[in-house]
Symmetry: C2
Amino acid sequence: MLAIGTLARRTGTKVQTIRYYEQIGLMPEPGRTAGGQRRYGEAELDRLAFIRHARQLGFTLEAIRELLDLSDHPEKSCQEADQIAGRQLRQVELRMARLEALRTELERMVHECSGGNTADCRVLEVLRDHSECLTAHDEIGA
Amino acid sequence: MLAIGTLARRTGTKVQTIRYYEQIGLMPEPGRTAGGQRRYGEAELDRLAFIRHARQLGFTLEAIRELLDLSDHPEKSCQEADQIAGRQLRQVELRMARLEALRTELERMVHECSGGNTADCRVLEVLRDHSECLTAHDEIGA
DNA sequence: CCATATTCTACAGTGACTGTAGATTTGGAG
DNA sequence: CTCCAAATCTACAGTCACTGTAGAATATGG
């Protein structure tokens, strides 16, 4: 029987995060000791590891909820899981493309800055005038 | 004199976002009509455009606050602005490296999925067992 | 003058946690 | 068995950068 702290250490999760997952229904309500502390088994450890790994791959908790549901029903078609992963892949590719545009622009800003005073700072100048940008970077939160 | 909606349209910002920027002190309190509606001038338009552009480049509002402060004092050294931009560049590069690792892993997952049922779905299998990953992807929120 | 569009304030909600306060429980040493 | 420090408990507020909502007031064109 594993205490919540052990589970946390083994999966690289904060204790509060585990309780949060329980609260939103991603993790099941575990058994309790007489004193009211949570005790977990191996199944819960595996489930939490699954969740954390999916988070590391950038899946949202909603997507993870679906993946866990699929994983709980081995007779269901794999197609859905494949679609979720495919969607995630396309999102990652999109974010990379956007970041690439940002990188180019930032590099240019930094390299062109000659180090005088802010009156003719290249960094600030580019920020002031969008038309100086070579690449398009229209979305926020890329 | 520009109404808040005009400012919003011209800069691609939501009206509430402009009020939010005012609330946190990023935008100044503008003049008001007799009826209490906000009216802006060109200076505010420029300032908002600066903010939005910096947001598109991924700067946090805190970094933008510093950049605006530097921009307001043309006699200060450019060095600080350069450092902020450099920091942002390194962050973007880090995020790109992480996303690259994710992309590799997701691609592998999706391509190896043969389309049976979830019992032997490659996507779910990889999520279940971290050791199957070829690349390291340790940080969440990359 | 009136209808419609815009703006106002104030507050709650988002996602995915993280942090805090104050009380209780647990596990091991003596 | 007693004591103590570490871990855990609940409940709630805070983070970031917005976004959405309700209900009232204001502005504008016909």
